[in-house]
C-alpha cells in the first residue's frame, strides 16, 4: 500500500466512535460535587510515617533473613494490605481468596524471574498500590464518587491480572537449583 493510498484509507477511518456505555453519569457525579481536597499535610505525614516504618521493618527483616537463607523477598513497597474499597464497600470473598492465594506465592514466583522482569513487576505493583491507596483515601472523603469507585475496582482487577501474569511467567521457568 503506497503513501497516498494509506493516507486516503486513514482518512476513511471513523473519527467518531461511540463508547460502549454512557460516560455522562460519572462526569455528572464529578462535576456536581466540589473538587476533592488535596492531601492534607496530616495525611501526607501519616503516609510518610507508615512508609518509613514499613521500609525500616522490611530492611531489618531482609538483613536478618539474608544470614539464614538467600531467598529474595519483595521490596518494602510490596507489602500487601487487605484489599479494601472505601469505608462502605466490600470486595467479594472470591476476589479476596484469589488475591490472597496469588499474594502468598508472589515472593517465590518473583524469585524465579530475571532481575529486570522482577523490577518491572515491582514497579507496576508499586504504582498500582499507590493508586489504590490514593483512591481509598479520596473515597473516604467522597464515598459516593462513582468515577473513583469504578477506577478503584478497575485497579484491583489490574492488580489481580498482573499477579496472575506473574504466575504465568514463572510457570515454565526453572531455577538453577532445579537442575
Amino acid at each position: 500500500m503506497n503513501d497516498d493510498k494509506l493516507m486516503q484509507a486513514a482518512g476513511q477511518l471513523s473519527t467518531k466512535i461511540s463508547p460502549e456505555r454512557d460516560l455522562w453519569p460519572g462526569i455528572a457525579e464529578a462535576i456536581e460535587k466540589p473538587a476533592p481536597k488535596r492531601w492534607s499535610p496530616v495525611f501526607a505525614q501519616a503516609a510518610a510515617v507508615v512508609l518509613l516504618v514499613g521500609a525500616s521493618s522490611a530492611v531489618t527483616y531482609m538483613s536478618m533473613k539474608s544470614s539464614v537463607s538467600p531467598i529474595v523477598i519483595a521490596s518494602p513497597d510490596m507489602v500487601f494490605e487487605q484489599a479494601s474499597f472505601g469505608n462502605r464497600y466490600n470486595l467479594g470473598p472470591g476476589f479476596q481468596d484469589a488475591r490472597n492465594t496469588l499474594v502468598a506465592d508472589l515472593d517465590v514466583e518473583l524469585e524465579r524471574l530475571s532481575p529486570e522482569a522482577r523490577e518491572n513487576i515491582e514497579v507496576n505493583l508499586t504504582l498500582i498500590h499507590s493508586a489504590i491507596n490514593n483512591m481509598n483515601v479520596a473515597l473516604e472523603e467522597d464515598p459516593e464518587n462513582i468515577v473513583l469507585q469504578e477506577r478503584l475496582l478497575r485497579t484491583y482487577r489490574e492488580e489481580l491480572a498482573l499477579l496472575r501474569r506473574v504466575r504465568g511467567l514463572t510457570r515454565n521457568v526453572m531455577l538453577r537449583n532445579d537442575i
Binding site: M1, N2, D3, K5, L6, M7, A9, A10, G11, Q12, L13, S14, T15, K16, I17, S18, P19, E20, R21, L23, W24, G26, I27, A28, A30, I31, E32, A35, N120, I121, V123, N124, L127, I128, V147, R151, R154, R157, E158, A161, L162, R164, R165
Partner: protein, 199 residues
C-alpha cells in the same frame, strides 16, 4: 434538470442553515456552561463525546483507558470552561484537553512498557463496528504502532490536524511530527504488506 438544480440549491441552503443553527446553538450552550449550567454542558458532551472518545481510543488502544481519559477530559473541560475564549473551535479546544488527558495518563504510568504489562490481559483492539476488510486491518495496524508514531498518525492522518497543530497538542516540534508520520507510514506499510496488501 432545472427542478433538480432548484431542489439541490434548496437542500444546500437548508444544510447551510442547519449548520449555522448548530454553531449558534453550540455557542449558546458554551455560554450557559460557562455560567455553570450542567445541563448545557451535558448537551455539549452529547455533541462531542463520540469524537473525543474516538481520539482517546485510537491513542490508547484500550477501551477502559479510553473511557477514563474521555471522562477526565470532560471533567477538566468543565473546570476550565471559563478559560475558553473562542479563539479556536470548541471541538479543537476539547480535543486538546483529551490529548492531554491521554498523555498525562501515559506519563503517570512512567513507562509505556509498564502500562502494557499492567493492562495486557484486558486490552481490546480499537476497531470500530463499521470498519471491515482493509480499513479493519489498518485500524488494527495503527493500534500496534509505537506510541509516538501512533499519536501523530491518529491526530494528523485520521483527525486531519496539521503538523503544527499535532505538534502543539503533543508537545513536540512540527518537524518531529512529520518524522513520526513518516515512520508511522513506513511501519504501517510493512505490517499491511505482511498481511497481503499491495500498492
Amino acid at each position: 434538470m432545472a427542478l433538480l438544480a432548484v431542489g439541490l440549491s434548496d437542500y444546500s441552503q437548508v444544510m447551510a442553515t442547519a449548520s449555522t443553527d448548530a454553531r449558534v446553538d453550540e455557542r449558546a450552550l458554551i455560554q450557559q456552561a460557562q455560567r455553570a449550567d450542567a445541563r448545557a454542558f451535558e448537551s455539549l458532551y452529547r455533541l462531542h463525546i463520540d469524537k473525543v472518545y474516538g481520539i482517546c481510543l485510537r491513542m490508547t488502544g484500550n477501551v477502559s483507558e479510553a473511557e477514563d481519559c474521555a471522562q477526565e477530559a470532560f471533567i477538566q473541560a468543565w473546570n476550565k470552561m471559563d478559560k475558553f475564549r473562542g479563539d479556536s473551535a470548541f471541538s479543537t479546544w476539547l480535543h486538546r484537553i483529551a490529548v492531554n488527558a491521554v498523555l498525562g495518563r501515559i506519563r503517570k504510568s512512567k513507562r509505556e512498557q509498564d502500562r502494557i504489562l499492567a493492562v495486557a490481559d484486558t486490552e481490546q483492539p480499537t476497531v470500530e463496528a463499521g470498519e471491515t476488510g482493509e480499513l479493519r486491518d489498518l485500524s488494527e495496524a495503527v493500534d500496534r504502532l509505537p506510541k509516538g508514531a501512533r499519536n501523530v498518525f491518529v491526530l494528523h492522518a485520521i483527525y486531519g490536524y496539521s503538523h503544527d497543530e499535532t505538534g502543539e497538542m503533543l508537545g513536540i516540534a512540527a518537524g518531529t511530527s512529520k518524522a513520526q508520520l513518516h515512520r508511522a507510514k513506513r511501519l504501517l506499510a510493512q505490517q499491511l504488506k505482511q498481511q497481503g496488501f499491495e500498492a
